[in-house]
């Protein structure tokens, strides 16, 4: 077995990924079979390659080899059904697609997220108001003090 997906496997992966996450013009979201995203999936599949291959084969088998010919309703039904009971291969396929999709610049920007790594800029967390703690501050200590005697003395 080759260490990367073959052109035929890439075609099948594209069909499947595009059905799993289709484009939405309204929301400005590309589909997961967008060439840049598909390329990222293929490059980053890494140690999950065998499982992803297994998932592609299982989906094709469920579609009697004709996944591409199904309409979108049938594709979605098949994939959701497979994902619910496909175990590790289904998880690996989902993970590979989601990991590449949700780091794509266009996707992140459409979601209102910054398209960057967390380091070095970091993020700002609102400090909020510690007066919310007032309700708790005045409570008497309630941890069990093992040094207390029965009369409550140390």
């Amino acid at each position: 077995m080759s260490a990367t997906l073959s052109p035929a496997e890439m075609d099948h992966l594209g069909e499947i990924a595009g059905a799993m996450i289709p484009a939405s013009a309204d929301l400005r979201m590309p589909a997961a079979d967008d060439p840049v995203i598909l390329d990222d999936i293929a490059k980053s599949v890494g140690r999950d390659l065998a499982l992803v291959r297994e998932a592609i084969a299982a989906i094709l088998k469920m579609a009697n080899g004709a996944f591409a010919g199904l309409d979108q309703d049938a594709k979605e039904a098949l994939i959701n059904d497979y994902h619910a009971r496909g175990g590790a291969p289904a998880e690996a396929l989902g993970r590979a697609i989601l990991a590449a999709y949700y780091r794509d610049d266009r996707v992140l920007v459409a979601l209102g997220q910054e398209a960057r790594s967390p380091f070095p800029k970091g993020h700002v967390v609102e400090p909020r108001d510690w007066s919310l703690l007032d309700a708790v501050r005045h409570r008497a200590p309630f941890w069990r003090d093992d040094r207390m005697t029965g009369t409550g003395e140390r």
């Binding site: 959701n80 989902g94 997220q113 967390p118 967390v125 909020r128 093992d146």
Partner: protein, 534 residues
């Protein structure tokens, strides 16, 4: 086999406890060597440096060694356990990928037999450890807010991490219910601290901190210990402890990076390989004199494994929350920590309030939970899920049971041919009841916060990496592996300082206690140097 120069003290494992003990003993000016099977991790290695920061949590920064599969990892057969083993093997050990939540055990945790009639009391109490907790808080750099009525007084040197949007939502819900909450103590630097930069909210602390704001021992204890003359040798995987004709530890056999076998002689051996790695090594050190493994005349090496079952209840509120743009830790509740006779279980749990997930993690988690469909419905639902997530962990006390144990797997081996540990672990009835109680309370909190799509993951996905109890402390050599100051009952120059020595697990993350115990044992050793082996 290559023979090495003799050292006074050989420490095996450079994680939370190994680093603390190395630093503490350094002032004795003894020749101290630490052998560590993993590498140093550089700040630039951490995932938050790159755009693939989330994907790497499922790759080289995965928490489970079996899935991470670095060549510095060893495999663990945990098929017979719902709770899987999580760890990190490298300088800093588990502190490299820990979440930096920093509670202490409660005084009652050390006295469960006397107070609640279950398990055993520790041979030491909270008050014997108090000054070491404080010292460790200063060394690691703890942040928090004094005055919590739910725990004994403590003095974290830095202010707490910010409440944020997520914390405020939880706080309002807890106030509505009239339940205790408090900002969590953490080891995240909230101000510049001892040369460490302060937290800039890179996201979850678990996959390591590129900023160096999270206290892992590679950047806290180790630089000081090395400067004080301790030697740390990486990529050295210990196979066994060797004993001499007097039944004393003579040193250790280890493999270096090239797979060459070495014998390292030592006057004193200190085990710091954690609650799985330490019993593994002791059991693999069986000899004619110690046929059941080293330090195992009690038969308790590997037994009483505690792993802290940790259900997580998640839900989604209406408003935008902090998501993954902050440390995951925010606050704790001790409302249900202490035993309440009205309940159908003894002991209790901490509720640990978490922030949300990043875009990839949210998508993966939500598809796994069945909330996020594939197909045209995907985008609409996803927009409702990203960022308003709230998650509450139920950190359950886990009492010791002898059938929960670490043994040597008869077939599975690491890359050096050393037998892998095998885990047999079942969640007890007491813990199951506690889990259900905690889940129900967390669901009430979610309801009070107005959360919807509330769902619970009982064990799967929640492996806190707390590995405890497999070489317990005690005064009775028939009921414990080490004495009340960490020395093996059987081998008088062999010490254990990691989470293995815990007698009970408590309902909190254990590392502040692991390190306090390690500092306490080091202190005891220093006080007894003249007659350490008597």
């Amino acid at each position: 086999m290559a023979g090495n120069e003799r050292v006074d003290v050989l420490i095996i494992g450079s994680g939370a406890s190994g680093a603390a003990v190395a630093w503490s003993l350094a002032e004795t000016k003894m020749r101290i060597l630490c052998l560590e099977q993993g590498d140093w991790v550089k700040p630039t290695d951490f995932p938050s440096n790159g755009r693939d920061w989330e994907a790497r949590r499922f790759g080289d920064f995965e928490i489970r060694p079996n899935l991470r599969g670095r060549d510095t990892d060893y495999p663990v057969n945990d098929d017979n356990s719902l709770m899987k083993v999580a760890n990190f093997n490298g300088v800093g050990g588990g502190t490299i990928i820990y979440t930096a939540h920093w509670p202490r055990l409660h005084p009652s945790d050390f006295k469960v037999k006397s107070l609640d009639g279950v398990a055993d009391d520790w041979p030491i109490d909270y008050w014997a450890l108090e000054r070491f907790y404080e010292e460790n808080d200063r060394m690691m750099g703890a942040s928090g807010l004094p005055g919590d009525p739910g725990v004994p007084p403590r003095h974290p040197p830095m202010p707490p991490i910010p409440l944020g949007r997520t914390g405020a939502v939880y706080a309002q819900a807890m106030n509505r219910l009239g339940w205790h909450w408090w900002p969590s103590d953490t080891t995240i630097a909230t101000t510049p601290y001892d040369g460490r930069a302060q937290c800039i909210n890179l996201g979850h602390c678990t996959p390591g901190c590129a900023q160096g704001a999270k206290a892992s021992t590679d950047i806290t204890y180790w630089p000081l210990a090395l400067r004080a003359g301790v030697e740390l040798r990486t990529r050295c995987r210990v196979r066994e402890i060797v004993t001499d004709e007097h039944g004393m530890a003579a040193g250790a056999i280890y493999y270096d990076a090239e797979g060459r076998e070495h014998f390292q002689p030592a006057e004193v051996v200190i085990m710091a390989c954690n609650g799985v790695g330490t019993p593994r090594l002791l059991l693999n050190s069986a000899s004619a004199r110690f046929p059941n493994g080293l330090a195992n005349s009690s038969g308790l090496v590997g037994r009483n494994l505690m792993l802290h079952p940790w259900p997580v209840v998640s839900g989604y509120v209406e408003e935008e929350m902090d998501g993954a743009r902050a440390p995951i830790t925010s606050m704790w509740s001790k409302q249900f920590y202490e035993t309440d006779p009205a309940r159908d279980f003894v002991r209790g749990y901490t509720l640990q309030f978490g922030r949300g997930a990043g875009p990839v993690t949210e998508a993966i988690g939500s598809t796994a939970a069945g909330h996020l469909p594939w197909g045209r419905g995907h985008h609409g639902i996803y927009r409702q899920l990203l960022n308003p997530r709230a998650s509450i962990g139920v950190a359950c006390d886990d009492l010791p049971e002898e059938h929960n144990r670490v043994t040597l797997d008869p077939e599975l081996k690491d890359s050096n041919g050393i037998p892998a540990p095998r885990i047999d672990y079942a969640i007890s009835e007491n813990t199951r009841r506690m889990m259900e109680h905690g889940i129900a309370r967390a669901e009430e909190i979610m309801a009070a916060a107005g959360a919807t799509r509330v769902h619970t993951s009982r064990t799967v996905l929640n492996y806190p990496g707390h590995l405890l109890g497999t070489a317990r402390m005690g005064t009775d050599p028939e009921r414990s592996v080490v004495n009340e100051w960490g020395r093996s009952h059987d081998v008088k120059n062999l010490f254990i300082v990691d989470g293995s020595v815990f007698v009970t697990g408590g309902g909190v993350n254990p590392t502040s206690t692991i390190q306090a115990v390690a500092l306490y044992i080091a202190d005891q050793m220093k006080q007894r140097l003249a007659n350490l082996f008597d």
